[in-house]
């Protein structure tokens, strides 16, 4: 049996999921899309059932891939029962989609969540009345505290076992007439949804559905167009506005029937936005919150990284000693260990606190506010406020940054945000900037590289968005109320993302290390130096920096580790001038994203986008590194 959780964003659907899901819950993509779902096996009444957490959608209109996929998935026989989670504090908006779900005429149970919050707002909800009106079970829920979870799933189980007939909502006379006509024409042809639901979606102008039905029933297209025209003439507005308006009206009426407004208790949460969204105070708070966030992440990472690295170092020496005489095996084992250490000791110590902090900010509801505050600024890069999320993630690791571009609606925005966020120095590049420039030139020089980086991202953003003529519709986002996050939900989210890194990126890192070890063993690195020589020559770097630069593509922090190996010393003062150190670090910060990021770029946006991002990064890196070299020369450093 499979139970699907459906609901609008911020309704607490994923909190509910995390209450029942085990650690083995896995995320997956719907075939051919980047739409992600999470699934887990759950024990229920002696049976094992699959519970699927679908992406939060406001409607099933098919305006974005998530809506299209959700609609099809729910209509299919893959799902035995739908749990529709509603936010009790915004009942009418949630009911809007509930009515759309009823049109599918599939077994369904309603969960009215966030009842504690509704209570705080003085809202009383008459669940039994709602159940009578809709004809499906309605259950109370406080998902964050686990209240009502068991009863809800038991009811869903029953609804799947003994499906009851579902009555879809009735619309105005003219809409129903149009529907009846279309449903008649559909009789006898296989439809992707229930015939009436298909007819309604055609009336709403769902292009994809229209194209699909046209294949089996060619007469339907003109018929649907005619029905739309008729309705539009009678009502004086497009047919889709009529249907949306009627559904919205029905939902509003239902809310009036079942919700009574008592005394509202105002709290700190109501006033917080006066400060946090204020142009001046809000920006100040934003700066403080981000500084505190990054400080906490770096403090944790800094505390954990050295002992872990020392541990790996100790293992490496011990293995090295015991494998004396078996040179190839020795190189490979050490390469493997370095790959493991790169993930466990260099990336994880930063990634885990970063993801925990991000999950917290997400669940509190701060990220949409961040998007609001940053929107005007992001417009200067040709993007809008929502794309600030991949940028922030980019400081941790480019892999989750690229993945997070999924929150953006159109492809242009996704490409631009992915390209720019890979230019942000991730924690591995931080190792190079700090280990080389901050340590040998001074912290001010490292800080200057970060400022230069921001400036170059802005410039690249302007140039790229100027080249991409397509307009982005801009910021359209709900600002949810502040909520205290449930620890379980924050932990679960961080865990899913860490696991994504472990599955997607870490293997690439390990393979890269092994290849490097093999090349070193075979003595091929000298040839590589020669191959990269034109580049190192232009940048004024010693020839031996070729290998570290080439292998930086496999793993960015390798550039530093290998620089030591290649130059034969870890005291870089002896072999590099300060100008060379800065030029090297600047180039490493900008050039081609690491292998793991490339893999994710290809998966998320395709080969061409991956190649373009790499080309952009290389060009930017060359230009900036040359400019820096020239500038330093002129300044006499």
């Amino acid at each position: 049996m499979r139970i699907a959780l459906v609901g609008q964003p911020n309704c607490g659907k994923s909190t509910l999921f995390n209450q029942v899901a085990g650690y083995k819950a896995h995320t997956g993509n719907f075939p051919g899309t980047t739409v992600v779902y999470t699934e887990s096996k759950v024990r229920l009444q002696g049976d094992v059932v699959d519970v699927v957490d679908l992406p939060g959608t406001y409607t099933l209109a098919g305006t974005n891939p998530a809506e299209r996929v959700t609609l099809r998935y729910l209509a299919s026989t893959d799902v035995d029962v739908i749990i529709n989670v509603l936010d009790a504090t915004h009942l009418s908006q949630g009911l809007d989609m509930t009515l759309e779900l009823l049109e599918l005429q599939r077994p369904m149970v309603l969960a009215v969540n966030l009842l504690d919050e509704a209570d705080r707002l003085g809202l009383r909800i008459d669940g039994p009345r709602l159940q009578r009106e809709l004809g499906v079970p309605v259950l109370p829920l406080v998902a964050s505290k686990g209240r009502g979870v068991r009863t809800l799933f038991n009811a869903a189980f029953q609804a799947a076992r003994n499906p009851q007939p579902i009555t879809r909502p009735r619309y105005g006379r003219d809409v129903e007439d149009a529907l009846a006509g279309l449903a008649d024409a559909l009789r006898g042809t296989p439809t992707p949804l229930h015939p009436e639901a298909t007819a309604l979606k055609l009336l709403e102008g769902d292009n994809e559905l229209a194209a699909e039905t046209a294949r089996t029933a060619p007469a339907l297209g003109p018929l649907a167009a005619q029905a739309q025209r008729h309705l539009a003439e009678r009502r004086g507005q497009p047919a889709r506005w009529v249907v949306w308006g009627e559904r919205h009206g029905l939902a509003g009426n239902l809310e009036h029937l079942v919700v009574t407004q008592g005394e509202r208790r105002t709290s700190w949460r109501d006033r917080l936005d006066d400060v946090l969204l204020h142009p001046v105070a809000g920006s100040l708070a934003l700066a403080l919150i981000l500084i505190a966030f990054f400080q906490a992440v770096y403090a944790t990472g800094n505390a954990v990284e050295p002992p872990l690295l020392a541990l790996f170092q100790a293992w490496t020496s011990r293995l090295h000693a015991s494998l004396a005489g078996q040179a190839l095996l020795d190189s490979l084992v050490i390469g493997l260990l370095q790959g493991l250490a790169g993930g466990a000791a260099i990336v994880m110590p930063y990634l885990i606190p970063f993801l925990l902090g991000l999950g917290f900010l997400e669940d509190v509801g701060y990220l949409p506010r961040l998007a609001f505050l940053m929107d005007a600024l992001m417009h200067r890069l040709g993007l809008h406020g929502k794309s600030v999320v991949p940028f922030i993630l980019g400081y941790g690791c480019s892999v989750p940054a690229v993945m997070s571009t999924r929150i953006l609606e159109n492809r242009r925005d996704r490409f631009l945000a992915a390209a720019l966020s890979t230019l942000i120095p991730c924690s591995a590049r931080l190792v190079v900037v700090f280990g080389l420039v901050a340590a040998y030139v001074g912290p001010w020089a490292a800080a200057a590289i970060y400022v230069l980086n921001l400036f170059m991202i802005a410039l690249t953003g302007r140039v790229l968005s100027g080249m991409m003529q397509e307009e982005s519709p801009g910021l359209i986002i709900e600002i949810p109320p502040y909520r205290l996050p449930a620890a379980r939900s924050v932990l679960a989210k961080a865990w899913y993302r860490v696991r994504e890194f472990m599955v997607e990126a870490w293997p690439a890192l390990i393979i890269g290390s092994l290849v490097l070890a093999l090349l070193t063993f075979l003595g091929l690195t000298r040839w590589l130096d020669l191959l990269v020589r034109p580049l190192t020559w232009v940048l004024g770097l010693p020839a031996a920096t070729g290998v570290p630069l080439a292998f930086g593509i496999l793993r960015k922090e390798l550039s530093l580790v290998m620089l030591g190996q290649a130059l034969g010393t870890l005291d870089f003062n002896l072999v590099l001038t300060q100008a060379q150190m800065i030029t090297f670090a600047v180039f490493v910060v900008f050039y081609i994203p690491c292998l793991a990021t490339l893999v994710v770029l290809r998966r998320e946006l395709g080969w061409r986008a991956m190649a373009s991002v790499s080309a952009v990064a290389t060009v930017v890196a060359l230009v900036v590194a040359l400019a820096v070299r020239g500038g330093l020369l002129l300044a006499g450093i």
């Binding site: 915004h90 009418s92 908006q93 809007d96 969204l277 505050l373 929107d375 005007a376 359209i476």
Partner: protein, 82 residues
């Protein structure tokens, strides 16, 4: 008038939808439909986004989209009955 001409605190009725089909769908999914009443809560400086309250839900709209939306003023609601 256009939504971007309104002032914070204004009560308005939406009269149009964005011309772009994708934007229309997104705006509609957040409960913005022709005829719906809304309140302009605040506007960010430098052509930043506008914050709207629509049926109890708070929504941020980028300046560009907001500038394409027609609205008409509504009288500020007094103490509502019920």
């Amino acid at each position: 008038m256009r939504l971007t001409d309104a002032r914070p605190g204004d009560h308005l009725a939406l009269r149009s939808m964005p011309a772009d089909a994708g934007a229309e769908g997104q705006v509609r999914s957040l409960g913005l439909l022709p005829g719906v009443a809304l309140r302009l809560v605040r506007r960010a400086p430098f052509r930043g986004p506008l914050l709207l309250e629509v049926e109890g839900r708070v929504i941020a709209l980028g300046w560009q989209i907001a500038s394409g939306l027609e609205v008409s003023p509504l009288p500020a609601p007094g103490t509502e009955a019920g």
